[in-house]
Amino acid sequence: MVYSQRNMETLARLYVEHFTENIVRHSDYGGNLTVYGNVALHEGYEGVTDLEHYLLFKRFPTFVAILDDNERFIYGAEKLRELAENPEIELPVGMAREIYNKAGERLTVAMYRSVSGTFWVVGAISWSDMPGATAMTIFLWPVLIASMALWSTFAVSNLWHHVINPIRWLEERVSSLKWGAEPLDEKPLSATAQVKKMHDTLVRVSKEAMKTAQVNRTCMNDLVNVQEDERTKISRDIHDGPLQDVTALIQRIHLARRADNTPEETRSELDLAEKIAYATVKEMRALCDFLNPPWLELGLSQALTELTERQSLQYGVKIFLGVDDDLDMPDSVTLAFFRVVQEAVTNSVRHGEAKNIWIDLKRNDDGTELTIQDDGHGFEIKEGDTADLRAEGHRGLSNMEERMTLIGGRLKIISYLGEGTCIRGLLP
């Protein structure tokens, strides 16, 4: 930078030296010089020199002045008069040099004696008037560099405080965060909009993770509860059914074995024991059917026929079943439809006190559609909202919904008080 400024100075000096010398050469016709206004007369020379034309050819930003042989100002630029009349300033002869005037303006000045030796020509250029960005740049360069340095420092510190630090803080918090157990701190960050946005997003994601974890816990809880409920029910069924039957059977065997029995008494006890044994078998078969109906293997159409006939007998309701015969489904789908029907009929009877239930299972353009309509009481339900019912411990409806979702289908429950209930399951 300093180097280029020096270059510029050298250039300015050469320029000033050159044009001043040039003026001297062209304006000296020998003899004494007399100046009248802006006209100069040379002794022994017929012509007049238009000083304005010669000296002040307005070639901006050059300044020219003529001094007499005592170096007193005769004619020329006011800027140079000031210099010439300042006793503290010694104008450089023959070689250009930088001089500051009173106003602090920087000038490159050179003075040459005329060939005749009767006057001096002073030439100068002003650095502040220098055309183009070059000179300015030369001056402004340090300022520019300094301000650039300042600005960079400012930018780096800004970057540090508003981008890097917040991101580092985020990174630390995010990597040590117990996802699902705690949310990300919501304290407002002093950071750029983008980082703030990222923070907001992460806060949202962390809250979502908590919600998901909560749902998972609820689901696990439900799963365990359902399992325990089922076990309790099965245990009670076995206790109240087969266990009592077999106990009664043992009692009859004890009674048949009594030493003081008559042969008729023994035979009668054994007959009773046999009857109880048959009843036990029947009871256990019913339990097996309930737990996992073997007739599911017969295919959906027959399984549903078997199920609805049994339910119709068991609950004393009329069930009208319409199933397409050629429905060939994977076992998981068969089981899902089977359980939905089983649950729906049970609900219709238990909660709706329905007398008639119409069940249709058809394949159409949208997929396989199951419709279960009853003439029961119906109930109030918000569209697609089984979560509330689930929260109240009524898992039936949401269980049906989940069964359908698990096989890739969906379930819709439409019910109004006094208008029966319609359950529609669709498997695309």
């Binding site: 206790h239 106990t247 043992i250 009692q251 009859r252 009594r258």
Partner: protein, 212 residues
């Protein structure tokens, strides 16, 4: 002298079997037969039978609750529990409620009759399947337990932990464990509940002491 009885059991087949058992005994007089707890309690209050055979699990009011009511109301009725379960905790809760005995429904007619006679005489009957012991164990007396061991057993019976027993008797917890191990060994028990039941059965401790 005949014994007045009532029978409460919600399962018709086992109730019929038990009725057939009781019918074989000349000195038993069944004055009431019930299939649920509420009716059984009403029968107990009005008929005041000498012995009430109560199924532990019944719809409405269960056998243990009826037993508790008998005790609370000071009725002159002895409760003998009937059940399909052989869980020792049931035995303890029945005894705490005031039952004088416990018979499994799958027992023989003779066992049931013996149990009824024992409790009617004021004795305590615990089914052998519940407190595992050989049949002839009734008359067998176990190796006598020391006074200290008896103290430990009674405190354990009240539900105190080893630590609590230790601090109450001013002995170390380790000593408590040693005493308990010795008690189990002498009575032939495998755990705390069984040792209490066997101690009751052998007359090492009295039911009243255990229930204090």
């Amino acid at each position: 002298m005949s014994i007045n009885l009532i029978l409460a059991d919600d399962h018709p087949l086992t109730r019929a079997g038990l009725m057939a058992y009781l019918a074989k005994e000349q000195d038993f007089n069944v004055v009431g037969e019930y299939s649920d707890g509420e009716a059984a309690l009403a029968g107990v209050r009005t008929l005041k039978p000498q012995v009430a055979l109560l199924d532990i699990r019944m719809p409405g009011l269960d056998g243990v609750s009826i037993t508790r009511k008998i005790k609370e109301e000071g009725l002159p009725v002895i409760a003998l529990m009937l059940t399909s379960y052989d869980a020792q905790q049931y035995v303890l809760s029945s005894l705490r409620a005031g039952a004088r005995g416990y018979v499994l429904k799958s027992s023989s007619a003779d066992t049931l009759a013996r149990a009824i006679r024992i409790v009617a005489r004021g004795g305590l009957y615990l089914d052998s399947e519940v407190a595992s012991t050989v049949e002839e164990g009734e008359n067998m007396s176990p190796e006598p337990i020391s006074a200290r061991e008896r103290e430990v057993l009674l405190l354990a019976a009240k539900g105190l932990s080893g630590k609590e027993i230790a601090s109450q008797l001013f002995i170390s917890e380790r000593t408590v464990q040693t005493h308990l191990a010795s008690i189990y060994d002498k009575l032939g028990a495998r755990n705390k509940t069984e040792s209490m039941l066997l101690a009751l059965k052998y007359g090492v401790v009295m039911l009243e002491e255990l229930l204090e």
